[in-house]
Amino acid sequence: MGRLNRSHLIEAAIWLVIVAVFYGFSFDFNQPIEIYIFGAAGWPRVVVGLLFIAIMGNLYYQYKNGSDAQSGIIGSSDEGATDFSDRATLFKMLAVLGVPFIFAWLLKPVGIYFSAPFFIAIIMWLFGERRWKAIVIVTAVIYVIFLGLFLVILNAPLPQGNTSPFYDFSAWILTMNTKLQGLW
């Protein structure tokens, strides 16, 4: 096993699965192109092949040197990762990773105008802010910046949601913006 540990093997296994999936799916578009003999699958397969070699090289390196960083490599961060053995820390981190994804998933049905204040407040709370007054004030400030810059000044088309009453709320915001624009 050399200096290999379980996390090295799991990491290599995940990458090998990705390589296998991408190689497997390359048969879906393995069609010849009249003007190019390597076809549509040629380049992706070369990339997949090189990635396989790099995974093996990485595994060999880890077999010899474990997780040590290689000398002469520039710009790599040597900071230690946080210990997630404490469940509370782990759950907090999972929440930070999950909340933005839920927000993105809600954009279509709920729209950004309604969901944004909740998202802003929750992120602040997850980042450790517990003073409710600060959360309310900063949420309002960010929301006003967001509306002012993207709606009033730039008129950017943003997701409005497609379910009631969220869609109606977005429509009300847009109507208010139109009235505001009409003032000048």
């Binding site: 991408f22 578009f29 069609q31 192109i33 003007i35 190019y36 003999i37 390597f38 076809g39 549509a40 699958a41 380049w43 992706p44 990339v47 090189l50 990635l51 790099a54 995974i55 090289g57 990485n58 390196y61 040590d68 960083a69 290689q70 000398s71 002469g72 490599i73 520039i74 710009g75 790599s76 946080t82 820390t89 907090k92 981190m93 930070v96 990773l97 933005p100 994804f101 927000f103 993105a104 998933w105 954009l107 950004i112 944004a116 998202f119 802003i120 992120i123 602040m124 997850l126 980042f127 450790g128 802010e129 900063v138 949420t139 960010i142 967001f146 730039l154 950017a156 088309p157 943003l158």
Partner: protein, 496 residues
């Protein structure tokens, strides 16, 4: 040339509306470049329809000014928060962010201000003096094989920067290349890896991917530190670098101008590769290689000089040949077309006034970086005093909107957050995020030029080596690759 430049300057500053547009472009470019989540491309895309109401000269000038100042603006967030405003500022964060953590943010931002201005001004001067001959040289000597070779060299450099080992460096670059294969293939238009999702046929858009990998993953990294109790607020420092400190890096500045200019002149390559290659060359020629990535000011200087030097050079193929080198220059073609003009050799004869107003505006825009940059830096550095729990939701909101408005797809927001999670996990495992992003950006360009090159040389790979520039670039890329592999197997190769 001097007469033309003075005439261009007089036309630029002789009309109040043109002055107002110039000032708007300078400030707008800096602001949009510096706000994580939006970029100079966002501003340009929003402004494009409005340029129909301007004259052709004003429209093209506005975009040229945004290009210059927007490229500088992204350095600020790269240095202060490790969030590059755009990909060309990614190498700036390698040393700029460690400088901030060491309480030297003023010096890093000061170096970025000065070197962006120097690189941009030098590039603008060369552009004024030699646009036509350089464009002719480029069209005779640079073809798809050379562009492919440069992509290879750039990726070889990127693989040795930012990851924990050379293998992870190459894996990072290859992951980026693999992501770039999603969508239609650039030769036959055949759908690849869209997994039944119709919107994926257009591929993974750069903007959400870049926002996810850089901005969102950095938020997650800071969240981890907050959760683990290891978060340290960056120290604010207002001390600028002294003239002597900057003078010590004069060779690096000159080298970066050359690298930036060479990359900028090539269609499709541009400022991002220029910054990476310049950073790589700074490391290669340094006597103290290990100090890079730990707050060496030369890293900031090399990257920022080169990316701004590329902006003037990128105008050469556009104006002299009508070939846009990137997204922003492509939008400039649209501005030309809105006014019934075609960029290319005839523009020099039909609209010399336009050309010289644009040249003069780019010169003054780079000068403005120096003047406004020094003044605004002290204000911008105060951003570091804002607690991160207030900054994080603002950055995430801006990133969400930035990802959405480029194509109007919620899928892009999903892609951004997925890239953020993926980027966070990869950073924990020692992979290089800039490597992935460069692979993603150069993947399609590399494949397209490889395919065109192979068709051109009738699939005889040996012909690549009979073209001097191509052979030189492939040799340089191979040497870079072999040197890093040698380091991987040489004695004393690890650091615990």
């Amino acid at each position: 040339m001097i007469e033309n430049f003075l005439a261009g300057s007089a036309a630029l500053f002789g009309d109040p509306l043109t002055i107002a547009i110039f000032v708007f472009g300078v400030i707008g470019g800096m602001l949009f470049g510096a706000i994580p989540g939006v970029s100079m491309l966002t501003l340009a895309a929003i402004l494009l329809p409005f340029t129909a109401g301007l004259t052709a000269t004003q429209g093209v000038m506005l975009f040229a000014v945004i290009y210059c100042t927007g490229t500088y603006g992204g350095a600020i967030t790269a240095i202060l928060f490790n969030i590059p405003g755009s990909p060309e500022n990614a190498p700036t964060s390698f040393d700029g962010y460690p400088m901030t953590q060491q309480g030297r943010s003023g010096k890093a931002v000061g170096a970025a201000v000065l070197c962006s201005a120097v690189g941009g001004i030098a590039s603008a001067l060369v552009m004024m003096a030699a646009t036509e001959p350089l464009a002719k040289w480029a069209i005779r000597n640079i073809g798809p094989p050379e562009i492919f070779a440069l992509v290879f060299f750039g990726l070889a450099v990127a693989s040795s920067v930012g990851a924990r080992t050379i293998w992870k460096g190459w894996m990072s670059v290859l992951i980026g290349l693999l992501i770039a294969t999603i969508g239609q293939d650039p030769v036959g238009g055949i759908n690849r890896y869209n997994f039944g999702i119709g919107d994926l046929a257009a591929g993974i858009a750069f903007v959400p991917a870049i926002l996810g990998f850089f901005a969102v993953s950095e938020i997650f990294v800071q969240a981890e530190r907050k959760a683990g109790g290891t978060y340290k607020a960056p120290k604010v420092s207002m001390s600028f670098p002294s003239f002597l400190e900057l003078w010590m890096h004069k060779i690096a500045v000159l080298r970066s101008i050359l690298v930036g200019f060479f990359c900028g002149i090539l269609p499709g390559i541009g400022a991002t590769l220029a910054a990476f290659m310049s950073y790589g060359e700074a490391v290669r020629w340094s006597k103290d290689k290990d100090s890079f990535g730990r707050g060496n000011m030369e890293g900031v200087i090399s990257s920022e000089t080169a990316n701004n030097a590329a902006t003037g050079a990128a105008m050469i193929p556009l104006l002299a040949l009508g070939l846009p080198g990137g997204a922003l220059t492509a939008m400039m073609v649209a501005v030309f077309q809105m006014h019934d003009l075609e960029p290319g050799p005839l523009v020099f004869y039909n609209s010399p006034d336009l050309i010289w107003v644009v040249f003069a505006a780019m010169f003054y825009a780079n000068l403005s970086i120096l003047i406004i940059g020094v003044v605004e830096t002290k204000t911008i550095l105060n951003l570091l005093k804002i607690p991160f729990q207030f900054l994080a939701p603002l950055i995430l909101m801006l990133a969400t909107i930035g990802a959405y408005i480029s194509r109007g797809l919620v899928l892009d927001v999903m892609v951004m957050f997925l890239a953020g999670i993926f980027g966070y996990l990869l950073r924990r495992s020692g992979f290089s995020i800039p490597g992935i992003v460069l692979g993603l950006i150069l993947g399609k360009i590399g494949e397209q030029n490889f395919a065109q090159g192979m068709q051109m040389v009738h699939y005889d790979l040996g012909t690549y080596f009979s073209r001097p520039i191509c052979a030189l670039l492939i040799a340089a890329g191979t040497l870079t690759l072999l040197a890093s592999i040698y380091r991987a197997f040489a004695p004393g190769k690890t650091k615990a």
